[in-house]
């Protein structure tokens, strides 16, 4: 537990109660959302969490210790808990990007060379180097937000709190920020955001706090919190769109499984109407037994060119035929490969494209997008890259995801989890020198999972 509050209460001088008896426990290294309508107390809570405001009652606990409100205590807390404000103009007060990022480290009294090293590192990580000497009013919204996050990250906090991080950003800019947040989370930072975008909170976070009228209404994993429709409505919020769609599909028997899909690939996976066929069977097959129908092709297939089909007998006719429910497996599966752009090598890259017959390239993260652009690589997709690649791979494409080091392992995890949970056979593999260095366990878990489920049927 990195950050806790106990019975926290806070009112503004004019008497409005902004926080009312809130007790939360934030585990380390998670992605957490505070969801609530405007004025529900999210921003005030954040200022309490980094010691800017002092609670009327209750306490804030960081790393197991009560927050010390002396000036040195606050300094330590603020170094560890960084806040990125909603409006970047509030946060960028130095005359240039470089100076703004340097502000925190300078205040912490680091020597000059160290400050320079940190700032350069941040500028590289966030793709800001070419903007080094620009004043903030020459930056776009996304660039401002990146600078603001870099300025906070420069103090190397353990917890990064972002107030409405995606407001006022265009979709690609928002996606870049989300990539950055995921990358930071992967580096072990605890990321806390506030939002009233339920879709974002539902799809992105691992844990959700629902705030309404200065009180904590509910907390839990997003699927559970957003499943309670009345509570969501009472907080002046809406259901996540993807969950709504899924429910409607389920009502119409177009999807099965009582699941809580988080993104498009997961939703696509649930789209399975009952697949029936009338076949001839031998007389000794009973209802409920499995029959291997071998390989189907041509008009009998649904997802690929060839499909290995297993079936379960639902009903037997007297004339030797039976109605069976089909379970199909595409024989030439699509694939997702991931390439680390930090170790880009033109020859290697071209040979990979040829060898794996790549027909869909997506880039993730500012660094890899810039690099790809410089190298003249045609990128088909630059937002929601992992989702799109999985979706394409399901339909037989061979996708390559370009990303930088921190994200390779994250991508690997996402794709592997998908393969494991869905049972859909995809090939996943990191390719190239750079990707091989990254630490992960077995790359192609697909085979094993698939084979297990197969043997259960037979």
């Amino acid at each position: 537990m990195i950050l806790e509050t106990r019975n926290l209460e806070f009112s503004y001088p004019d008497g409005t109660k902004a926080i009312d008896d809130i007790s939360i426990t934030i585990p380390e290294g998670k992605k957490i959302s505070f969801v609530g309508k405007n004025g529900s107390g999210k921003s005030t809570l954040f200022l309490l969490l980094n010691g800017t405001l002092k609670p009327k009652k209750g306490k804030v606990i960081y790393g197991g210790k009560d927050v010390d409100y002396s000036s040195s205590g606050l300094r330590d807390l603020r170094k560890k808990v960084g806040i990125v404000f909603q409006n970047s103009d509030d946060q960028l007060f130095a005359p240039t990007v470089y100076q703004d990022i340097a502000f925190g480290p300078m205040n912490l009294g680091y020597p000059k060379e160290e400050v320079e090293r940190i700032v350069n590192l941040m500028m590289d990580q966030f793709g800001l180097r070419h903007l080094k000497d620009k004043p903030p009013h020459h930056l776009s919204g996304g660039q401002k937000k990146r600078t603001a996050i870099a300025g906070v990250l420069a103090m190397d906090p353990d917890v990064i709190i972002l107030d409405e991080p995606l407001s006022n950003l265009d979709p690609v800019g928002a996606d870049e920020i989300l990539d950055i947040l995921n990358e930071l989370n992967h580096m072990g930072k605890t990321i806390i955001i506030s939002t009233h975008d339920v879709d974002l909170a539902y799809a992105w976070s691992e844990y959700v706090y629902l705030l309404s009228n200065s009180r904590l209404m509910d907390e839990g994993v997003p699927g559970d919190v957003f499943s309670k429709e009345k509570q969501v409505r009472d907080s002046s919020l809406k259901n996540p769109l993807i969950l709504d769609i899924y429910r409607e599909l389920e009502k119409r028997w177009l999807a099965t499984g009582h699941e809580q899909p988080k993104d498009l690939p997961e939703l696509a996976r649930t789209l399975r109407s009952i697949d029936l066929m009338r076949v001839d069977v031998s007389p000794d097959v009973a209802v409920g037994q499995c029959v291997n129908l071998g390989v189907l092709f041509g008009e009998y297939t649904k997802e690929g060119l060839y499909e290995a089909v297993n079936s379960r007998v639902l009903f037997r006719n007297d004339d030797g035929t039976a109605v069976v429910e089909l379970k199909r497996r595409v024989l030439r599966p699509g694939a997702v490969y991931v390439y680390n752009m930090e170790c880009f090598d033109k020859d290697e890259f071209e040979s990979i494209i040829k060898k794996y017959d790549i027909n869909h390239i997506g880039a993730m993260g500012k660094l890899s997008k810039d690099l790809a652009e410089n190298q003249g690589i045609t990128i088909v997709c630059n937002s929601g890259v992992i989702d799109r690649s999985i979706l394409n791979a399901i339909t037989g494409s061979r996708c390559l995801i370009l990303t930088s080091k921190g994200m390779v392992a994250h991508t690997a995890k996402r794709v592997r989890d998908y393969i494991q949970n869905s049972g859909i056979r995809l090939i996943f593999s990191p390719v190239g020198k750079g990707a091989a260095e990254v630490d992960y366990h077995a790359a192609e878990t697909a085979e094993t999972t698939e084979d297990n489920s197969e043997s259960n049927n037979e």
Binding site: L47, T52, F85, D90, P95, V152, M155
Partner: protein, 261 residues
């Protein structure tokens, strides 16, 4: 909207050493003042304009728009000077009878007017060179070097940053007022401008609060933080500067006493 600071930020001369630029401009100003012939200020003007346009890559349109607005003012002053500084002697060049008296221009007054005109333009083009190639940012490190009060420097930096934030706000509010005919006539204009000033004042107060929060959460403890921009003087820069200085000196020596009339 482009202001002078934006122009300077985009100029490649921004990345040249500020001290060198300052010294050159100071030298040009002093040389122009010491000269007793209009040739030297004219030469300085020529050099400065070409340097600003060629090396500084300032758009010609932007430059001359500013220059001409100043030029008109200087020209008018010098014409008046020509009529009034007739104590300098010399033959009469022009005589205009006005109500029984006459306005005259003498050779001496004409020479003086032309000298002042040339000096002004020389000075203006030198200052344009400095202001169009040196953004405020580069000047901040000089504040420190000349040991201004720390608090003053820091305030200047914050003010510099927020001028642009509030300029944006001001333009937005004004546009919103115009859209609803806030500046339709004199009365509504006064009223709208009052509202604009009032709301900007409140907004600055609120921004101040937020700024305090933002600086606090990044461990600001009241001790000012300074940065230095360090642009080295390259041999090429030094060579160009030397050529400029020596040619100004040469022109100074050889143009002594040369007058138009």
């Amino acid at each position: 909207m482009r202001n002078l600071d934006d122009v300077a930020l985009l100029s490649p001369l921004r990345y040249k050493n500020t001290t060198l630029k300052l010294l050159l401009v100071l030298f040009a100003l002093i040389a122009g003042l010491l000269a007793d012939s209009p040739v030297l200020p004219a030469f300085v003007m020529f050099c400065m304009i070409s340097a600003t346009l060629l090396f500084g890559k300032i758009p010609v349109g932007t430059y001359f728009k500013l220059f001409i607005s100043v030029l008109g003012f200087v020209a008018a002053s010098c014409v008046i000077l020509a009529f009034f500084a007739i104590g300098n002697g010399g033959g009469i060049l022009l005589e205009i009878p006005v109500f029984g008296r006459s306005l005259t221009i003498t050779e001496g007054s004409a020479n003086l007017a032309i000298l002042v005109f040339a000096r002004s333009l020389g000075g203006i083009s030198s200052l344009f060179f400095l202001s169009m190639t040196t953004p405020m940012l580069e000047l901040f490190s000089y504040f420190k070097r000349f040991s201004f009060l720390d608090i003053f420097t820091e305030l200047t930096m914050l003010i510099y940053r927020y001028i642009f934030v509030f300029l944006g706000l001001l333009l937005n509010i004004q546009a919103a007022q115009k859209m609803r005919f806030g500046y339709r006539n004199y009365k509504t204009s006064i009223y709208s401008a009052g509202l604009l000033a009032g709301s900007l004042f409140i907004l600055t107060l609120e921004q101040g609060d937020r700024l305090f929060l933002a600086m606090n959460s990044r461990c600001y403890d009241g001790k000012p933080v300074f940065y230095e921009s360090k642009y080295k003087i390259s041999p090429a820069d030094l060579l160009i500067a030397a050529v400029f200085v020596s040619s100004v000196i040469a022109v100074f020596i050889y143009s002594r006493g040369i007058q138009v009339f």
